[in-house]
């Protein structure tokens, strides 16, 4: 199979905009370390097709693949943008979600 740089499929969840990743069980998960990693063109094509289905089912918006460097514990995004998307703002304030309802 044709090898490519390692990639992960990401999107934002439609209902709340939260960053999600496609895992090997075709679930959209919030944890980058659980994401499926495409290593071949066929993998990437498969993830792209599954993402298109999820868009049609109104689960996510704006899916795309981004390059990562695989690691023992977790994949590391190659871009600062994806690093920040995965871990949240780097502004040093606790922005945990404690909304009171609604």
């Amino acid at each position: 199979m044709a090898k490519i740089s390692h990639q992960i499929m990401t999107a934002n969840r439609l209902e709340d905009g939260v960053v999600v990743y496609l895992d090997a069980q075709e679930r959209w998960v919030e944890n980058l370390s659980a994401a499926a990693i495409a290593e071949t063109k066929a993998d990437a094509k498969f993830l792209t097709a599954r993402a298109a289905v999820a868009v049609g089912e109104r689960r996510v918006v704006g899916p795309y693949l981004f390059p990562v460097e695989p690691g023992a514990a977790r994949a590391r995004p190659l871009s600062q943008r994806e690093h920040i998307r995965a871990l949240g703002p780097t502004v040093g304030t606790d922005f945990s979600d404690s909304r009171t309802g609604g």
Partner: protein, 550 residues
């Protein structure tokens, strides 16, 4: 301040109801994202890096205490307990859920607020002098005219799909506190030879990837013709502006391509055709709007002895008075700017608790009204000198008493790569590092008046072109670098900053700024302000100091 009439109430409620239906249709699959996106943007709802972002309009930056409290409720109930005041005098919530936004818009409508025209290629929220109605150097209250423009431009059918977004600012004072020359249209009130009050019309200013200082195309426009002249400018732009290239679609590019004279001729010809028609403002309508902005009844007072004594007894209070107070038109009163720039803080952010504290203080000391500045601070415009010490104590309790307005730690910063989909580099952490570095109040005061503005990309939401020191984040092969500019200014001597040299890495920004400041301190003469030193000496001394050994 302006109070909605039945038409306004009905319009905003209907718009919120319409958006509720649109969200429901999106969630039900009746609208694709491509179909939905322009609809949500028309209601200020973006999709950013981590979540949706809702930009709420604060017309001409004026809020009642009730509105501020409602923003706190929204922050707490539907967001993550804070909001971000922007360089357009608006507020952004960084974490709303799509499913909650109809409820948020309903909640806003209850207090006469909305998110209309905070996005899209339309006439955006009109900005105005945050000291309107209170400034000692004011000719007229600019909010009256901003409100008239708001009513004219809201859902204007001809100008809802312009080539690009369109920003208008109004200033009614001698001092330009609205960056009026960096707007698509800047309106400056002035008197003509007959002592009549009208507008200087400045067109084609802007920042972004092509920063340009606006050009005056009409020295004096009688007030009653404001809307017909604006309509002539907008119509000319709408007809001639480019739609084939996103980066060449702003009016500043049209003005540069057609030439000022030809553009002005086209505007004047159109104006001649429509002037004196339905858009001529009747005097009674101007009076009606003016009545909404009638200043509070303030009794002139002699200098307050207790105020003077408190300054002597409390050095921190005295320092805050030196930097955060501005001259009021009524003796014995002051305009108070509340800094949203604590050391190491996020420029423009306020927690729900701080919003409520400001609302309470506004009720107690400033007639229940709050202003938002384009520098991302808040203003209480009408405070008695005798109340200043108690007000300051309230601000201290709310962690809002930073004494740094107009000083180096009063940094403008866009959300940058921490939040924004368009950004190339982070802006907020850079601001945090710089403000921590310059956290010694005595040093900050000794450095003196200076503006330091940071943008995370060339779109320049952080106004870096107009900063005395400007910092622009760029992406170099996946790494964040920062270009330093010097000599920018947003005031009457509006100038685009000049690039100092090669960009510096993220970890080198503080050192670079420190180097620039040290150079300034070494070469300034007497009490010379930073910007005056740069204008006198040019950028070469700074360039040599920063790059000389490289």
């Amino acid at each position: 301040m302006y109070a909605y009439d039945d038409f306004d109430h009905a319009f905003v409620r209907e718009r919120a109801n319409e958006f509720r239906e649109q969200v429901a249709r999106r969630l039900a699959g009746e609208l694709t994202e491509d179909e939905f996106k322009p609809l949500r943007l028309m209601n200020g709802l973006y999709l950013q890096l981590h979540a949706y972002m809702l930009r709420v309009a604060i017309p001409y930056g004026t809020l009642s205490s009730a509105q501020m409290r409602r923003l706190a409720v929204i922050a707490r109930r539907w967001d993550r307990g804070y909001g971000h005041f922007t360089t357009r005098q608006n507020i952004q919530f960084n974490w709303p859920k799509l499913v909650d936004t109809p409820d948020i818009l309903d909640s806003l409508a209850e207090v006469e607020m909305h998110a209309i025209q905070t996005s899209g290629n339309c006439i955006r929220n009109v900005t105005a002098d945050p000291f309107s109605g209170a400034a000692a150097d004011e000719i007229e209250d600019s909010r009256v005219w901003a409100e008239i423009i708001r009513q004219w431009s809201t859902l204007h059918p001809e100008f809802t799909f312009l080539p690009r977004k369109f920003k208008i600012a109004v200033t009614g004072a001698e001092s330009n506190r609205t960056a009026v020359k960096f707007h698509d249209i800047g309106l400056r009130m002035r008197r003509n030879g007959a002592d009549e009050i009208g507008f200087e019309v400045i067109v084609g200013g802007g920042q972004g990837r092509t920063p340009i200082v606006g050009t005056t195309i009409r020295e004096f426009l009688p007030k009653q013709h404001l809307l017909s002249y604006l309509e002539a400018v907008l119509r000319t732009y709408n007809l001639l502006g480019r739609r084939d290239n996103l980066y060449k679609a702003r009016i500043k590019i049209l003005l540069a391509e057609t030439g000022v004279e030809a553009f002005t001729d086209a505007v004047e010809a159109e104006w001649e055709r429509i002037r004196g028609g339905a858009l001529t403002l009747p005097e009674d309508e101007i009076r009606r709007i003016e009545a909404h902005f009638a200043p509070p009844l303030l009794v002139a007072a002699s200098p307050d002895q207790a105020f003077a004594e408190a300054k002597r007894a409390q050095p921190d209070f005295a320092a805050w008075c030196r930097s955060n107070l501005f001259a009021h038109r009524v003796p014995g009163h002051a305009i108070v700017t509340i800094s949203l720039k604590p050391s190491g803080g996020i420029p423009g952010d306020a927690t729900a608790e701080q919003m409520e504290a400001v609302a309470d203080l506004a009720d107690r000391f400033s007639h229940g009204e709050i202003r938002v500045t384009h520098e991302q601070n808040l203003v209480l415009a009408d405070v008695r000198e005798a109340d200043l010490f108690t007000l300051w104590q309230g601000l201290v309790a709310a962690e809002l008493a930073t004494a740094n307005i107009g000083l180096i730690s009063d940094i403008i910063a866009c959300p940058g790569l921490d939040y924004c989909n368009l950004a190339n580099a982070r802006a907020i952490p850079v601001a945090q590092r710089i403000s921590r570095h310059f956290s010694d109040p005595a040093l900050v005061e000794e450095i003196g008046p200076i503006t330091l503005n940071i943008s995370g990309c060339i779109n320049a939401c952080g106004h870096h072109h107009a900063g005395h020191i400007g910092i622009l984040g760029v992406d170099k092969h996946g790494e964040e670098f920062y270009q330093i500019t010097l000599g920018g200014a947003a005031d009457d001597d509006a100038t685009v900053g000049r690039i100092l040299g090669p960009s510096v890495p993220y970890d080198g920004v503080v050192e670079a700024v420190e180097n620039v400041i040290q150079t300034y301190r070494n070469i300034r003469t007497g009490d010379e302000r930073f910007i005056d030193t740069v204008r006198r000496a040019g950028i070469n001394p700074f360039k040599e100091a920063l790059y000389g050994t490289r």
